[in-house]
């Protein structure tokens, strides 16, 4: 029998706000444990949550870029469960009336076609703290993350494979990063994803029983876990068994999923309306304000770049993965760099440097302004490409100002008189090579040009040298 896989997503995105969701504490990763906490986020008796506008604005931006129907009225509910890193004994979430319904995620089907995954809803909720368990059996609790704002994005189960699921999560990540809603680092846990998987015979109309997979902290785990879980479910059914509804944990090392808890063991969260918070009103004005302040979206930018800069399609796609990258590239162009060389430099040098430095463009020490001076010097033949790259490297290595480095660099010698002297000297010292060329073996010309470059300590303009050389040979 032929089987289809059916996949749905539940994505948890930490919102990249300055403060937490219900208090003014800083939301900061990597801080000293329990340093960013206050009575509100640790559930001190008598403390009350106060919804921070920043989180709502951030949530509105996410809903706009995913095309959701933003609800004028929504409200918070309490999700009750006991856990040591949940100091109030409940999580403030939106269960009954989420702030955004519908919407979709654009993604690429396995057959290469463009598609969209419809969303059920997005809701806002607060994060819990973090427990860590030591080998000696003690547990430590860090409450810094408590009450950090999260978005939970729930999709319809309409994907057909793990690769499609990964494609969707990549797409959401790119969009959320683009509008500054989420940093999107799966390894740091600020983007987390659960996947629902079920299988059904190809000709069937009813979905099979689904399993929810947790602990997927990379795109590879998303892809692989769906493949493995699909195979497991098919084996169960073909062996005469039945798939049960349950939550399963993905084990990345062993590449297996293992049952965590069955449906009957799933916690009863006893959701009820949060009495400490008034309803959330999101007006048309609030939405307008956010959509007005959204950056140009990737698709719009793609169209514009193709038209304005005449970039080839294959060059544009990687440049759209992060908005800040494109912003930097455009700054180069605004500074007078030709679009083609801006794209070459960015894709060649800058992305390479960012990779090596494991750094984001936002903190890249070389500004677009100073880099533009270098690229323009190359464009104008005042320095060689090699010199330009060396300057960039030097500036990064030594932390020195690129503009100053450029100013103290000798420009290429283009003067025919000076070049002529070097050329004459090299020609007279390398008669063999000259004869070879005269004999029709053109390969030696590169060697001779190299000798001139050496003699001029890199100052000679290589193209001009070659021209002079050919004229003389």
């Amino acid at each position: 029998m032929s089987w289809n896989t059916v996949v749905g997503l539940e994505i948890h995105a930490q919102m990249a706000t300055q403060s937490k969701m219900f208090c003014a504490c800083r939301r900061q990763a990597g801080a000293v444990p329990n340093s960013n906490i206050c009575p509100v986020c640790v559930g001190w008796p008598g403390a009350l949550p106060v919804l921070q506008g920043e989180a709502v604005r951030c949530a509105i931006r996410a809903a706009i870029c995913l095309g959701c129907d933003i609800q004028e009225l929504s409200r918070f509910d309490r999700k009750n469960y006991f856990y040591p890193d949940l100091p109030k004994g409940y999580q403030i979430s939106q269960f009954y009336h989420p702030y955004a319904l519908g919407g979709s995620i654009p993604f690429t089907r396995d057959d290469g076609s463009a598609a969209v995954l419809p969303l059920v809803r997005i809701h806002m909720e607060e994060d819990a703290g973090k427990s860590s368990h030591e080998e000696d059996g003690t547990s430590r609790i860090d409450l810094n993350r408590c009450s950090s704002p999260l978005l939970e994005i729930v999709s319809e189960p309409l994907l057909m494979s793990g690769t499609e699921a990964a494609s969707c999560v990549r797409s959401v990540r790119a969009l959320l990063r683009w509008v500054g809603v989420c940093d999107g680092d799966m390894e740091k846990g600020n983007l987390r994803c659960d996947v629902n998987v079920s299988v059904m015979p190809e000709e069937a109309v009813e979905f099979g029983t689904r399993a929810e997979l947790k602990n997927l902290n990379s795109f590879v785990s998303i892809e692989r876990s769906v493949v493995v879980e699909t195979a497991r479910q098919i084996e169960v059914i073909e062996g005469g068994g039945q798939v049960v509804q349950e939550t399963r944990l993905w084990d990345q090392d062993k590449e297996v999923t293992a049952s965590m808890r069955g449906k009957e063991d799933s916690p009863d969260y006893r959701y009820f309306p949060e009495p400490d918070l008034p309803v959330v009103w999101i007006t048309e004005d609030d939405i307008q304000q956010q959509s007005g302040s959204l950056p140009e979206m990737p698709e719009d930018r793609r169209q514009r770049w193709l038209k304005e800069y005449d970039f080839p399609e294959r060059e544009v796609v990687p440049l759209l993965s992060r908005r800040e990258n494109g912003d930097y590239l455009e700054s180069l162009i605004l500074e007078g760099v030709k679009p083609a060389s801006a794209s070459n430099w960015f894709r060649g040098e800058i992305l390479k440097q960012l990779n090596e430095r494991e750094e984001r463009i936002e903190v890249f020490p070389v500004t677009a302004q100073s880099l533009a001076l270098v690229i323009k010097a190359v464009e104008e033949d005042r320095i060689s490409v090699a010199t330009g790259k060396e300057l960039l490297q030097k500036s990064l290595d030594k932390g020195s100002d690129l503009k100053t480095l450029l100013e103290s660099t000798d420009e290429q010698v283009q003067d025919e008189g000076a070049l002529g002297e070097w050329v004459d000297q090299v020609l007279s010292e390398n008669e063999d090579a000259v004869n070879k060329i005269r004999g029709g073996d053109d390969r030696a010309i590169g060697f001779l040009v190299g000798q001139v470059m050496k003699l001029s300590k890199g100052q000679a303009h290589p193209k001009k040298v070659q021209e002079l050389m050919r004229a003389r040979i």
Binding site: P39, V42, G43, W44, P45, G46, A47, L48, P49, V50, L51, R78, N80, F82, P84, P87, K88, G89, Y90, G137, I141, D268, R270, Y271, F272, P275, D276, L277, P278
Partner: protein, 489 residues
């Protein structure tokens, strides 16, 4: 000096506003006043079990500072020099805030609740913490970890609850304002039992920040004092939107006109209400009618379901609000290597029987499979009650009924019968469910010399109009002026 000061102190039953005038005219110093009030707390207050902690040192220092301000001609607060207490579930910087529970024994909040800050800013002086039922759950003040509180009018009887300590203090002696909290009648019922005036403001009018939550959608902090005018001055100080409580709002009265037309709630005088209570409140009606107040009968049929509805909603919210006392972060911890065991042993030993009962009930009514039948239905009934009350208030300015269906009962009389205790709430929970303000005032003393109270409910925001009506009543009738014999220190 002490004798001179003592001889010029106000009467034991004097109101706060009389004391304000007394201090203003220089008849005594704030220090002498506070000193005498501390004496009352240490003797009568402690004997009644009404006060748990007395802040003598800080109160005397503040009194001296207040005297100095007065001498220097500085601007004085509207409650300058007036002593006040906070219920054990209201956070204060000094002392402990244990909600009268072993779970929170020794818990120091470290910060003042917004209401306490406001009282201090108005010049009032925090003198102590009053006892209450554990986590404000109870109507007899018999479930306090600090022991029973006694009714100052008959010390073999309960003072009501849960703000029993505050009410006993207010009934026994004047001068002060007592901050209580009212989730289902916890200010009004003890006020009625102790012959004090107490009010539950419109939900949201007074910040709940710093109040240890019980049923958040019902909880409201309010004053207990000698008379309606004291409550009015206190409410002026306490009210207002607080950036630290998202549900707090500034309200305005629906009208500037005094209340002239009152709805007589038929269900407040029916089955289950003692005849002596009915008669006393009916007599009060005649007095008001003679003054030209018009009465019309109104029927609130859904009130019959109010108590059941209240028990479901209040316990549901309590089960969640009290989850934070898990032995991990805040509250008593019994160590264990097993997490489940740590939770269950800590919570079982930290919470008293009534609190455990309500947490279990609240957890049940929210549980999958039961939530629609219990919590869901209670929410709809609550909506109906609210609409019924508001539509009744379309035609009248206020609604009137007794506070308690019966007189203060003997200590121990109902403690083993939770349902008999829950019956105390049948007339008070309606105001909490509807979120409307309600004022309880002394109405009379029954044949046995026990206090009888009555209450008015008004539209959202009509708190001060209700207090105005209460002041009118207190001009026409001086029941409220009585002070129990044992109450004088």
């Amino acid at each position: 000096m002490v004798n001179d000061a003592a001889s010029s102190l106000p009467d034991p039953g004097a109101t706060s506003h009389e004391v304000l005038a007394h201090l203003q005219s220089g008849k005594c110093t704030t220090k002498a006043l506070i000193s005498e009030y501390l004496n009352f707390l240490e003797t009568t207050g402690k004997r009644l079990g009404a006060v748990v902690e007395v802040f003598s040192q800080s109160a005397l220092q503040e009194a001296e500072a207040s005297d100095a301000r007065r001498m220097a001609g500085e601007t004085l607060g509207v409650l300058e020099g007036i002593p006040f207490t906070a219920k054990m579930n209201i956070c204060t910087e000094e002392g402990t805030t244990d909600a009268s529970s072993a779970m929170l024994a020794g818990f120091e909040a470290g910060v003042d609740a917004t209401v306490v800050q406001k009282m201090r800013s108005a010049g009032a002086i925090l003198v102590g913490k009053s006892s209450c039922d554990e986590f404000a759950m109870g109507a007899s003040n018999e479930s306090s970890a600090h022991g029973v509180v006694r009714n100052p009018w008959d010390e073999s009887r309960v003072p009501g609850g849960s703000s029993g300590g505050a009410a006993a203090l207010a009934g026994a002696f004047g001068w002060a304002i007592h901050l209580g909290s009212d989730t289902g009648g916890s200010i009004r019922q003890p006020a009625a039992f102790c012959s004090a005036t107490g009010m539950k403001p419109t939900w949201g009018r007074v910040s709940r920040r710093g109040l240890i939550a019980f049923g958040s959608s019902l909880d409201q902090i309010g004053p207990l004092a000698r008379d309606a005018k004291d409550c009015q001055i206190a409410l002026e100080v306490l009210q207002g939107s607080d950036p630290l409580d998202a549900t707090s709002l500034s309200f305005s009265e629906s009208s500037k006109e005094p209340i002239r037309k009152i709805g007589w709630i038929r269900q407040g005088f029916g089955e289950g209400i003692d005849a002596s209570i009915r008669e006393q409140v009916e007599a009060a009606r005649s007095i008001l009618e003679k003054d030209g107040i018009e009465f019309v009968e109104v029927s609130l049929p859904t009130m019959a379901q109010a108590n059941a509805c209240y028990q479901v909603i209040a316990t549901a919210e309590a089960s969640s609000n009290l989850a934070r006392y898990d032995g991990i972060h805040v509250g008593k911890r019994l160590s264990s290597n097993d997490l489940e065991e740590l939770y269950s042993s800590s919570r079982s030993s930290g919470f008293g029987a009534e609190v455990r009962r309500r947490i279990l009930l609240g957890t049940f009514v929210l549980s999958s499979g039961y939530i629609d039948a219990y919590y869901g239905r209670a929410q709809s009934v609550r909506q109906e009650i609210r609409e019924e009350i508001l539509s009744a208030l379309d035609d009248v300015d206020a609604l009137m009924m007794p506070v308690s269906p019966f007189a203060p009962f003997k200590i121990g009389e109902r403690i083993d019968d939770p349902l008999a205790l829950y019956a105390c709430d049948i007339l008070t929970v309606t105001a909490n469910l509807a979120g409307v303000p309600a004022v309880a005032v002394p109405c009379a003393f029954d044949n046995e010399g026990l206090p009888v109270g009555m209450q008015w409910l008004g539209k959202h925001g009509d708190d001060h109009r209700l207090l105005q009506l209460a002041s009118l009543w207190q001009e026409l009738n001086d029941t409220w002026k009585s002070v129990p014999q044992g109450g004088q220190s």
